[in-house]
């Protein structure tokens, strides 16, 4: 019925592609560590002692065997 939208692609392979992307982004957002929020707040408090902070973002990055934490501290320009 929706052949004109997806070319000749069968709906199961459309489902696979969509799921792969949706699940990857779900995992990025959620599969950090359970203590992520707490750690974020503490980092924020430490930096805040010296300079104004707008937001702290922590991501877990996995590259092959190496796991790293990427921490972005966005400064509050108004301060």
């Amino acid at each position: 019925m929706f052949g004109f939208l997806f070319g000749k692609k069968k709906s199961a392979s459309v489902a696979k592609d969509r799921l792969t992307i949706a699940i990857m982004s779900d995992r990025d957002r959620t599969n950090g560590y359970p203590f992520m929020d707490e750690m974020k707040a503490e980092i924020m408090a430490v930096v805040q002692k010296y300079i104004g902070v707008k937001e702290v973002q922590i991501r877990k990055e996995v590259d092959g065997n190496m796991e790293a934490l990427a921490i972005d501290v966005e400064l509050d320009k108004g301060v």
């Binding site: 069968k10 709906s11 199961a12 489902a15 696979k16 792969t20 699940i23 959620t30 560590y33 359970p34």
Partner: protein
């Protein structure tokens, strides 16, 4: 000392409680002592699937609160002496569960049963977390359908962060059951193949269960479908529980319809 297995799904309505009942009875039919526990506090259903709703006197919350002892609350199956059942509370809500009490109850159950099977509530809230916290392994039930698979992945993510075993640096074993497979839809490319689902979720396959009208017929009667020798879903649960009990059971290809099989067979003679 028994093994504790949580049956989880993330999404509701995929056949989790049906699976729990059939896994429990199948294990019992393999001569292992098994208890199935309904952790879906406030939405008791496992009792109906097992046909034991009239025998419930005490529930899991009363046991955890010390209002009844375990012996009083355990209900023996009508069809197999190896299978016991512990009902969820129908009146309280999920927030009554407390980690320390859950841990104590599970420890007690492990003493007297080879298998302790916990039927998790749908969703990924506190009731779910309490179900998985002290489990040694999890069986994830999915349907070959996008929302079920996505929700299962979230449930697995929470299992990987909240399980006591994982926190202690150990692994929690995870196995997948794909439920409600329709062979001719898989053949025509309208339903996800099991290989694709395994690739997306990245876990091991325990078994595949075909769509079968017999499942509703069985739940109507309160007799798990594994008792129905003609049912294709029942046969699938037989194979799955054989595997769980250490038997080597080949993975039957239920993703081929009779018509597809006929094509393959006739193709051989061409």
């Amino acid at each position: 000392m028994g093994i504790v297995i949580a049956v989880i799904s993330g999404k509701g309505g995929v056949g989790k409680t049906t699976a729990t009942a059939n896994l429990g009875l199948g294990i019992a039919l393999n001569d292992k002592k098994c208890v199935v526990v309904d952790f879906d506090i406030g939405q008791r259903n496992l009792d109906m699937i097992l046909g034991l709703e009239n025998r419930v006197v005490y529930d899991i919350v009363q046991v955890m609160d010390g209002e009844a002892n375990l012996k009083q609350a355990l209900i023996k199956s009508k069809v197999n002496d190896n299978l016991h059942f512990l009902a969820a509370s129908q009146t309280k809500d999920k927030s009554v569960l407390e980690s320390t009490k859950v841990e104590k109850l599970i420890a007690e159950l492990k003493e007297s049963f080879d298998f302790v099977i916990l039927d998790a509530p749908a969703g990924i809230e506190s009731g779910y977390e309490h179900t998985i916290e002290f489990a040694d392994a999890a069986i994830i039930i999915v349907n070959p359908e996008v929302s079920s698979i996505r929700d299962a992945d979230r449930a697995i993510g929470i299992l990987d962060s909240k399980s006591a075993k994982v926190k202690a640096g150990e692994d929690v074993a995870k196995y997948l059951i794909i439920n409600r497979i329709v062979a001719d839809m898989v053949e025509s490319g309208e339903m996800l193949k099991s290989d694709d689902i395994l690739e997306i979720l990245n876990i091991k396959l325990l078994g595949k269960v075909p769509e079968d009208k017999g499942v509703i017929d069985a739940s109507n009667q309160g007799k798990p479908v594994i008792l129905d020798k003609k049912s294709i879903a029942g046969q699938a649960y037989k194979r799955i529980t054989g595997r769980l009990c250490g038997e080597k059971v080949d993975m039957k290809d239920i993703e081929v319809s009779d018509a597809g099989l006929f094509k393959r067979l006739t193709g051989m003679f061409r």
